[in-house]
Each structure stands twice: as C-alpha cells, then as structure tokens.
Symmetry: C2
Subunit: 321 residues, 2 copies
DNA sequence: TCATGATCTGTAAAGGTTTTCAAGCACCAG
DNA sequence: CTGGTGCTTGAAAACCTTTACAGATCATGA
C-alpha cells in the first residue's frame, strides 16, 4: 500500500541505490537520471521510511521532549519553540507529559531513547544522579535545569530577580513575601537562592512561605497566609501561583496593587490578559526551545546556554502602602 | 552502544528468536529459559527497537497528533488527554503544531505517516477534499471536526448552545452579539449554525460580528464594535476571544456583567481564574483526547463519537440591564 | 522398540533503507 | 591498441526485529 523505494526504482527503471542517491546525494547521479527519478518519486508521493533509514544511519530524525505539565501555560510555549525549530531542521518531535510525576520521567525517556537522536528534558524533577545516568545513555539537553556535565539551557534567574527586587524597592517596599514552589524543583531552589542574595544586597526583608504546588490552586491556598504576614508585596514562585493569589485577594476585597503588590515569574501569555495585568519576570520560552534543539542537533555536549530575562512591569505592582 | 537483541541472546546463550519470544510470547518458551532471558534482558536494560519492530510488524506503536496552536490553552488540554491515553496503551505520540497554517497541515501529516499507526487531527482547517484524501492514506481520527466517512470525535455543540442561550434568556437578555471566529473553521460554522437555530427557537435577536482570529487579540479588537451594537450580552467564538472582550471592557470601564454579560466557549483553565470568572460552555478536552486515541487504536473506521457539553455559570453573566 | 505427538528452540527470510564495493563504460594519452 | 582515469550505476550487505518453518528433544502409548 505505502510506496517504497522499490516502487520508484521499478517505475524509473533504475536500482534502489540510484533512487536513494538521486534524492539524498543528487550531485553523484547523472543529471538526466536524477531528474527522471525525482520526478517519478514526487509523482508517486514517495517519502523515505524514516524508521528504516534510522535503522541503518543511526539517526532517526526524531527528538524527544518531556514536560512536567502541559496544563501550565509555561510549557506549551516551550513546546511550541521546540516544535518550530525541530521542524525547520526537518525533525519530528515526540512529546511526553509526565504529569508532575518524577518517577515516571526516567522510564519514559528510556522508552523513547531508541527512537530519537536525543531528548530535551524540561524542568525535570528527577534526582541528579539518575539524570546523569540518563544523559550517559542518550544525548540530553536540560531545559530550565542545570547539572554539571550535561548540556542545558536556562535563564538568568539572578538578574531577573534583581530586576524584580529593584522594582519593588524603588516603589518603597521594604518587607515582601516569597511564595515558594515545590521543594524538589531546581527552579524553585534557584529562584530562592537568587532572591535571598538580592534581598540581602538591597536590604529587603524577606518572608518565605510555601511550599505550594506550582499551580493556580497553590496561590489560592497560600493567599491568606501571605496577608497575615502584613507584607506590602509578594513574589510568587510562578505566574500561575501569582494568579491564584490575585484571585483570592480579589475575593477577599484586597486591592492590588493598592493594598499589596503581586509579582510573578515566567510571563505566561495569561499574565497580560488578567486585570490587573500581572507584573512578572519574563523567561524566554520559545527561545529556550530553539536553543535546546540547536544544542541537540549540533550534538554539543556539555554546552551551557543562559538566556536573558526581562521584567515586565504591568498593573499588579505599585507604590507600597 | 545501544543494547540489541543479539547482546541479550549471547548473554543468555540462546538465539535471538528465543529472546523475542521470551519477551512477547512468554507462554511458548520453557519457563526456565524464559526467566533467565527476562532477567538478563532486564539486567542489560534491553528495550526492543520499536523502529525495527515496526518495519516487520507494520505497527509502530506511535501516534501522530496535529494541533493548530498550542498557545490556545484549549489544545494543550487535548494533547494532555491524548498523551495520557496513548501512554496507557503503550504508544508514543508525535506532536506537531501547525501554527494556524492550513497549508502546512497535509505536508506534516504525510511526513509523519510512515512512522505512525494513525493520526489525530485536531480542528484541522484543511479543505474537506484534502482531508478525505489524507484519511485514505493513513488511519485518521478528526478531533472537533466532522466530515462524512472519517472517524471523528466532537461535542454536542447544539446542546451547548441551547444551554448558553437558555441561560441568557432566563436572565432577561433579548438581543445578543456573537463574535465569530475564522470563517474557514468548521467549529465556527458549527457554532454559528447551532446558535442561529437556537436563537430562532428562543426568540433571541442575534447580532453577528467578526470574523476575528481565535485569540485574545481577536476579542480586544472587536470589543468596541460589540459595545456599539448596544446588546446586553455577547457570546464569543471561544474563551480566548471572550477574555479579550473582558479585557477591553475593563479598560473602558464597562462593567461585566452589570453593563454587558460575556459568555465564552471551551472552558479553558483560564476561564475560572480571571475576574469576573468567565461563564462558558465547557467542551470535553481530555476526554476528547481519550476517545480519539481509543478510536485510533481499535482501528475503528468511520466511527463518530459526540461528547456532552456543559454550561459553566460563573461571574461574567448576569441579569440584563 | 517404534511411531506419534507435544514441546521447545534455532535458522532464515523479510521489512525499507543506506552504503560499500566493484563493475561497466567512455574518454584520453601514450 | 593499451592502460589509466573518471563518471555512473548496480549488487549485496547491513541495521534490528519478528515470524514461518523446520529441526531437535522428550515422553507416551502401542
């Protein structure tokens, strides 16, 4: 049913080898033959079977991409970026959603491993040792996580935090809360660390609450505790949590930014759509996807790329009360 | 480098055939041999190369999934559903984002075709004839589109619209606007048709505006035109457009639902997070993904499944002014 | 003891492609 | 006319599995 290289060969009156060459190394075959073969291949709608090709070349033209939760709009943006760049490079992408289950991650990767030239692991919660073992089996690029000896794409968290804190300090805030994300998350540890450093530098008093699930509900659940701390501003682990805070504040009649300023992290598309629009530290998402694919395709091992961040000032932050 | 069936065979002192059998048809090999082989395979971390297997069995264990825009939260939800069910059935999924480009769709599918057992086409904008041609080449299931002779999963749009309109009529609305989506979209045509039918039945005066891009910006761009129509309620093509309306209304100081009620379609996660929360017709998303995968895996041709819809009444609709 | 059958295992072919190697051919210089 | 060179092509092997077929072993019943 499917048209194979033999069909083309027969139709063109040449051998399979010539067909392959006409399509992938056009310069080595006689122009006349080449044109005829190409024409016939196109006419028959022939596309090489990539699985068969992969078997012999060792390169499948496929990439694997693991994300923890497509429900968080941060990740679809990354997927979009990966997807776009992979497509440009004529690669297809396998997607797997681990549903925030670290235990499932390694297994999923190993199952994919044979079918791909490499995998992009997005914010994996996996233990470092396991991650390292995995990276030894399959070419791996980490997105938004960094461990020694493995390629990664991250963002300048420290600089992002600095922008955020400077913004708050300039608005007169002296005591702010941080709503922490999952303890096992590298991103959370990194943000926390950056925030502590910057807060100390800028003499900002920090109140840490959490840890919450990195979702809307997490923000809702911690909002009242934040209010009880009598801070004038709150920085959330990510935008989804910030939106949860916003939601609960609105329900309780707490004015934003009048009574309290709210600052997020990620800059998901949503952040600009709500009222008040969320001030947030924008992380490169599609670009991270692009960079990750580039690293993988160029087979660059142990390469680190750190992309810039940008504070997006919107309506949810204002002068301290 | 990768461990193949031969490695296992050698280590176990048996032939490759026995290894295959020990793993996929355990009942036909001697218990003792079977256990030994299985143990060694596990120890070596052997996983059959699915590409090679696919070559001979004709089944790859892969599914293709095409979506128009991951930036619209409606689609990640579907992807999540597909992904989850596919994984249960031990299938991997190829994801492709066409970026709302109908021309790219067919090409993408054809490139994937050889590597998958079937494709899930989500809301394709492709012309019906082309879609039909494609379905003849690859087992195909349409998600949120219906054409004769091709399996599909859709939702009860008509019933959803009836719920929505009844809700508005009960609140005293007599004249409402509909913001239409892309003209080429089947979903838009379907919603439009349902709405017209229901509006006539319930004596609701309908003002049609649009067509807008099915995104936040689309809603923003048409909001003022909607206000100029002096309607007391507006139904948007989808939630993203509704959020755009909400945004622009808030910016202009138009009270929702005080001055105008807003009703969406889809029930994306976002809808419940904004203020006022969006009243919307919930479409099954993850379930649609599940159903689609089931149809594909069971190889059911020309099967139609229509899932129920549910009006979610939230804060954005209220009594007519 | 022999034939029969059941149970278990190995050999070889197949699937679609790429690549290595060698062969065929035309052309040129000697 | 001969040997060499360069271009173009085909045959065959290889990639990793699965499966049809046949062979081997063993026990059973006659």
């Amino acid at each position: 049913m499917a048209v194979t290289i033999k069909d083309v060969a027969r139709a063109a009156g040449v051998s399979a080898a010539t067909v392959t060459r006409a399509l992938s190394k056009p310069e080595v075959v006689h122009p006349e033959t080449r044109d005829r073969v190409q024409q016939i291949a196109a006419g028959l709608g022939y596309h090489p079977n990539r699985a068969a090709r992969g078997l012999i070349t060792g390169r499948t033209g496929n990439l694997g991409l693991l994300v923890p939760d497509l429900g968080n709009p941060f990740f679809p943006s990354i997927v979009k970026g990966v997807q776009a760049r992979a497509h440009e490079a004529d690669h297809a992408v396998f997607l797997a959603d681990t549903d925030e289950d670290p235990a499932a991650e390694a297994g999923l990767v190993r199952k994919l491993a044979k079918q791909v030239d490499g995998v992009l692991l997005c914010s994996p919660r996996m233990a470092e040792a396991e991650l390292r073992a995995l990276a030894a089996e399959v070419p791996t690029v980490l997105l938004y996580r960094r461990i020694p000896g493995v390629s990664s794409v991250t963002a300048e968290f420290l600089d992002g935090m600095r922008q955020a804190v400077s913004h708050l300090v300039a608005l007169g805030h002296r005591r702010v809360a941080y709503v922490a994300g999952p303890r096992s998350s590298w991103a959370n540890r990194e943000r926390m660390r950056s925030l502590r450093t910057v807060a100390k530098q800028q003499k900002l008093e920090l109140v840490e609450t959490g840890n919450v699930v990195p979702q809307f509900e997490g923000g809702v659940s911690v909002a009242d505790r934040v209010l009880a701390e009598r801070v004038t501003a709150v920085i959330a682990y990510n935008d989804l949590v910030a939106l949860g805070l916003l939601h609960r504040f609105a329900a309780r009649g707490v004015a934003v930014p009048g009574d309290i300023s709210v600052l997020g992290f990620d800059d998901i598309p949503l952040a600009a759509m709500v009222h008040p629009a969320l001030t947030t530290v924008a992380l490169p998402k599609e670009q991270a996807g692009h960079a990750g694919v580039d690293l993988l395709i160029k087979q660059q091992q142990r390469e680190r790329r750190e992309l810039p961040t940008q504070l997006m000032v919107r309506g949810s932050t204002g002068p301290a009360r």
